[in-house]
Amino acid sequence: MKSITIRKILLAAATGFMTAFTSLAASAADPFKIGFVYVSPIGDAGWTFQHDQGRLEMEGKLGDKVETKYIESVPEGGEAERVIRQFASDGYGLVFTTSFGYMNPTIKVAKRFPEVIFEHATGYKSAKNVGTYVARFYEGRYLAGIVAGSMTKSNVAGYVAAFPIPEVLRGINAFTLGMRSVNPEATVKVIWVNSWFDPGREREAADVLIAQGADVVTHHTDSTAVVQAAEEKDGVWSVGYHSDMSKYGPTSHLTAATHHWGSFYTKIAQDVLAGTWKSENIWWGMKEGMIDIAPLNSVVPAEAAARVEEAKKQIIDGSMHPFQGPINDQDGKEAVAAGAVMTDDELSKMEWYVEGVEGKLPK
């Protein structure tokens, strides 16, 4: 949190004075103000933590040229609109809104402040001054799947998932495909907890999956409860999400599919400063460094680690795509023909399970 010191007030007064008389000279010396809206507290791991790491990386790279400020735990909806508007009217030239539910408030405020640039994460509505950005989370999931597939003995992985939306389904499918690429016997059991965030339930679901024979568990929810559940059981591994969660499962955490927003934030800020920014729908992946996986647990055999490294290289140079055919759907019907690759449009509308996922997809 920022505290207003007398020095800052004087500074502000001085710059205000300067702008009034020599507006051009003063504005060149002013740092460019960039705002971030976070949906949860930053903490030590998770979605918001990764965004904040990106903010810090951008600050580090651009130095005095920018000044950033964040507001955390902003609920999606009406309150978000107030916070975003506040940034815009306080002279922030660029605002990142980092949660899906900020979509409508962002668009609404952007209309009122056409000179301010907004970047909204994971949404699908853009405008002249609103760009969107999202990562190819599934690439990290695929690699994590390879690790899980090489470690499982029961050939069953458990997946604690929040809501059946395309983003989550892409993750489940990519993880399953990754597992089966090294272990064709492997299956994935999914439990829907119908909540992004309820550590108790996430924990219960993980316990159930383990009781039903899963010896690797992963999650698409926001807490670290699943990793902790695995840590308490012998012979059960976990795969984290968002951040490296090895701290919560020192022995059981195999790897994690992680997000890295720093280079993206830096590029956008540079573009805006240079006046070359335009509204785009950005979908970056491993190639651009937005997605990665956390360092592998030392128990992972070298052979498996090499396979992961190989697949990573192939994804980066484009010679392999996690969703390249042939892919069968859950009922064994061909969903993607051999040689074909799912388009971004198809990926963004994914609403089916690949072969190897157990259970019926809730509609």
Partner: protein
């Protein structure tokens, strides 16, 4: 198969225990005629204080004590408002919950996602090796045993002791109790504080045993479920236990059903614990006269000693 069943039963105990603590505490409070809707708030402040103290001191039991004290402290605020200043219990309770959620987020700022090893299970030698009964009864975590003890103690206290009778009498008719010379306000204070301590323990169970971590709003509505349990259990401790484990059990079973791939929409399954608990408790306590008999007659009404 036996292992799956044992797994389900163990998970049920774990899922039900925070509800047992919170609901039994609220039951005692309500039996004295005071309705405290602040259970969720007391629980979450208990959770964060317990976690913070455990993380700082490295001693989990100090953490549990801090949870109990924090829950009691929150209840004291409620007591001062409603018993000393006679303000509206419903409004004060709701305010306590909202305040508790905010306060816990503030206290927990530095503790979000700190890693902590939770309280370990006790494996009673020899007994824990008995098949089935061993894992189910003799190798649980200490707070779970504590919840069994609390249940027995509360049931005994309410229905077998003079003090319990007095507490219930105050809940029925504070005027009569005061005319017999009993300190109604003081006893209600004790009942409220006890409820707070139990809600704090429920928080401790969540933050130190069940999911040893602190995250904002981690109680996720369990305080409200505990409140509902007390009403649907018609203020009977035994039925509170049935309700809490039923709720926990159905939650776990619906996950198992999903895991086995049974074709029922998960959204519908998520609803089941609530539905099943309400239906069962309403069925076992459908006798309207018994409800009247069990419900504290003065529940929720401020008592003015001067009148």
């Amino acid at each position: 198969m036996t292992e799956t069943v044992i797994g389900i039963l163990l998970a049920t105990l774990g899922a039900g225990t925070p509800l047992v603590f919170a609901a039994l505490g609220e039951l005692v409070t309500e039996k004295s005629g005071v309705l405290n809707l602040g259970v969720e708030g007391m629980m979450i402040v208990g959770a964060v204080c317990g976690f913070a103290v455990a993380a700082e001191s490295g001693n989990l039991w100090l953490g549990v004590m801090a949870s109990v004290l924090a829950g009691t402290g929150m209840a004291l605020v409620f007591g001062v408002l409603t018993l000393t200043f006679q303000s509206n219990q419903v409004a004060a309770g709701l305010a306590l919950t909202i305040f508790g959620i905010g306060l816990s987020a503030y206290i927990g700022l530095d503790y979000t996602s700190v890693a902590l090893t939770g309280i370990a299970n006790i494996h009673i030698p020899v007994l824990s090796d008995i098949p089935v009964a061993g894992p189910l009864l003799f190798s649980l975590d200490p707070l779970l045993y504590c919840s069994f003890l609390m249940f027995a103690a509360i049931a005994y206290f309410l229905y077998r002791t003079k003090a319990g009778l007095l507490l219930r009498a105050i809940g029925e008719s504070p005027e009569s109790a005061v005319s017999l010379g009993y300190p109604v306000i003081a006893i209600r204070y004790l009942a409220v504080l006890f409820g707070g301590a139990m809600a704090g323990l429920a928080g401790a169970y969540l933050a130190l045993v069940y999911t040893p971590l602190w995250v904002e709003a981690m109680t996720a509505g369990r305080g409200w479920i505990a409140l509902a349990l007390v009403v649907f259990a018609t203020w009977r401790p035994g039925r509170v236990m049935v309700g809490a484990y039923l709720f926990g059990g159905v939650t776990i079973i619906q996950f198992h059903v999903q895991g086995f791939g049974v074709d029922i929409p998960s959204q519908l399954l998520s609803m089941l614990p609530y539905l099943a608990t309400i239906v069962v408790l309403v069925l076992i306590s459908r006798d309207i006269n018994a409800i009247r008999l069990n419900a504290p007659a003065s529940l929720g009404k401020a008592y003015h000693p001067s009148v």
